[in-house]
Homo-oligomer: 418 residues x 2
């Protein structure tokens, strides 16, 4: 008997008929002799409906304390979406003679830090889950939420239900965590941009981690980190078909040993340039501490060679944080002596990812040459062991993905691959 955690996203539980279909899928898994723990998102549209209601009253305020108070209320508000789905799915299962019980994040003991709207999980007790499983009851858990030490509801940030599912799978030592979504797996590129994109049957945690942080929206980045840390096999699959999906797992001999496994593109990027930064120790520290205090994660940083004791400093960050960061830095200009803070939004980050890069030379050169041959200028570059990212003008984003997919021959099955 295997223990499977099944997670269903918003479109998978988008209306009553889909909830009934999900119930069938759960029962099917149970009838194969497996234990099942279900994690659900809010019904699609529900979270946006709630955000809209809140925004009709007030948008997030600027001040730190005010923002904290507002965020606490947003968590109270948004956490209702997942709860609704859990109750409805539990009722659907019960109606099919399958014992089931809904649980909130609190009830399964998901304890987080104090950061509202983007909390981190500190601990999971999962006691009531284990009790339910022992009694043959299918637990349906509200994704995306936990409670902090003050016993206030917190939410785990965008895609947080994936994290709930993977974290519960880790704590329960589940045999597999199935992430049901509206795509049937992880592709070599977004099929909307590259029609010849191919579904991968397996991908390593490391590769998936890079793809998730590079804008591939299939799995939330922190979920993949969590899965890798606790070695939870994750299967990304469609709740609308019976196709096999993509297994995210540790690297093994069977895995495709291609240099590049996928091309991704993230258009949700902005660039802030600080002009006239005094070129002396401590200034950069001051700048990035200010950003960190606002809990904003930045990505690439470039510092130009200084002239006359002044230099320019650029960094990229998610678009939604750009104005917030800009304001935080403007408050610092008297301290840092920075002359100007420029914000550029129309950029995109195009990346190639592949575990095989570790043992191959010339991948970067091939990428740069490919982009250059199309006249695409590279604004910034960053690399890791298994990825190379280039920031380009946003208007070239799709073209860049297409030519890179072609150049690395990703549309065809690798020789000897599975």
């Amino acid at each position: 008997m295997a223990l499977i955690v099944q997670k269903f996203g918003g479109t998978s539980v988008g209306d009553i008929n889909r909830i009934l279909a999900v119930a069938q899928r759960v029962i099917q898994e149970k009838n194969q002799g497996n234990q099942v723990v279900v994690v659900v998102s809010a019904m699609s549209g529900e979270t946006n409906r709630l955000i809209k209601l809140a925004h009709q009253i007030a948008h997030p305020p600027d001040g730190h304390a005010e923002r904290m108070a507002y965020s606490r209320e947003m968590d109270m508000l948004l956490s209702t979406g997942e709860r609704t789905t859990t109750a409805l799915l539990a009722i659907a299962l019960q109606a099919q003679n399958t014992a089931s019980c809904s649980f909130t994040g609190r009830q399964v003991g998901i304890i987080t830090d104090e950061t509202h709207m983007n909390a981190r999980i500190n601990k999971i007790t999962a006691e009531r889950l284990k009790e339910a499983l022992d009694k043959g009851i299918v637990p349906v858990v509200a994704g995306f939420q936990g409670i902090n030490r003050a016993s206030d509801v917190t939410t785990l940030g965008r895609g947080g239900s994936d994290l709930t599912a993977v974290a519960l799978a880790a704590v329960l030592a589940a045999d597999r965590c199935d992430i049901y979504t509206d795509v049937d797996g992880v592709y070599t590129a977004d099929p909307n941009i590259v029609p010849t994109a191919r579904k991968l049957t397996k991908i390593s945690y490391e590769e998936m981690l890079e793809m998730a942080s590079l804008g591939s929206k299939v799995l939330q980045h922190r979920s993949v980190q969590f899965a890798m840390k606790y070695q939870v096999p994750v299967c990304v699959r469609s709740s609308f078909t019976n196709n096999g999906g993509t297994l995210v797992t540790k690297e093994d001999a069977e895995m495709e040993h291609e240099v590049v496994s996928g091309v991704t593109c993230d258009k949700n990027q902005a660039k802030l340039t600080l002009v006239g930064v005094p070129d002396r120790p401590g200034i950069a520290a001051k700048i990035f501490s200010a950003i960190a205090e606002e809990k904003i994660v930045i990505d690439m940083i470039i510092q130009n060679i200084g002239q006359n004791g002044l230099t320019d400093l650029s960094f990229t960050l998610p678009t939604e944080n750009a104005e917030h960061a800009q304001r935080a830095l403007l408050n610092l200009t008297s301290e840092t002596g920075v002359e100007e803070i420029k914000l550029t939004k129309n950029i995109a980050k195009v990346s190639i990812v592949g575990g095989g890069m570790r043992s191959h030379y010339g991948t970067a050169a091939k990428m740069f040459t490919t982009l250059a041959s199309e006249g695409i200028n590279i604004i910034m570059i960053s690399t890791s062991e298994i990825k190379i990212s280039c920031v380009v003008d946003a208007k070239y984003a799709e073209l860049a993905v297409q030519v890179l997919h072609e150049a690395f021959d990703l549309g065809n099955l690798p020789t000897g691959g599975s």
Copy 2:
């Protein structure tokens, strides 16, 4: 500095503009130098929307265990409605520079028994409420909900938000509990039935208790009981006007000493008649124990004089419990020997209520005469110290209320009254 609990019902928070208006009312009370605790219902329509979603999946099942499991899920589902309102109102207050914080039933320590969908409050700690008040924060509490010992969400039954408000007012020793609703007070009769009905400025707990249990929907019965027990002054008022409302309080010298203060009508009544009940000790106990086990509250009971060792037994109960009770009793027929169980739905209970009845004679006679003069047959009668109720054919309900209101001259201010 007084401490006021303000409770706003579903129509008072029915849309964003109304929530903003409620925020203004809260701020107004606070600006008068008072501490305020707010209790809210779900936005009007929301509870029905959620019930409809659930019923699209499955209606409440018959079996006891199945019904318990279903009810637990309904509580999880319905409790989201009040939570949504708390967060939105807290955001509205914050946006008006009024420190505010939402709280669930659990967070303010409302501990109930295990009865889902109709739980009783066992204990309220209110610690976080006191902390918030000490810090000058306006707490906005989700009405209608608590948690049981297992830490599952429970709800307090129809009108449960009133109970939350009164119970919190009692625990906090509040100076007053204001129930804001869509009517501006308690009337001598339903103004939709009797155009000359008059608003009462004051009414005693005892009278209000009778009116609430007799179908006047202004205040939930259990809330009035709670208010009486803990001597919480309750003011029923409109959230759409600045009219004075009706104060529900202990009987005092100022109070109108009329024989009859109001006429009520409850059409949500059904009658079950057990035909051929063996006339021997223990049978009635068996019958009413079975009903009590299903947690159904019955109202009037009539047992006819027996013939041939058999008798007929009739009792009234809320319509929504009638079929459930009938099924429970049908399961008992082999034990009780009852021949038939008849269900009658088209009945209404018409009642007159007044604290002055205690010291007046002839009130019942006047009521019966008034009904008889219109040709209205009385099916059952029950009385208490301060009320007389008659069950009549449902088609006469409105007429009965109108003629009784007229007969007892309720449309005119009592001589010497306030």
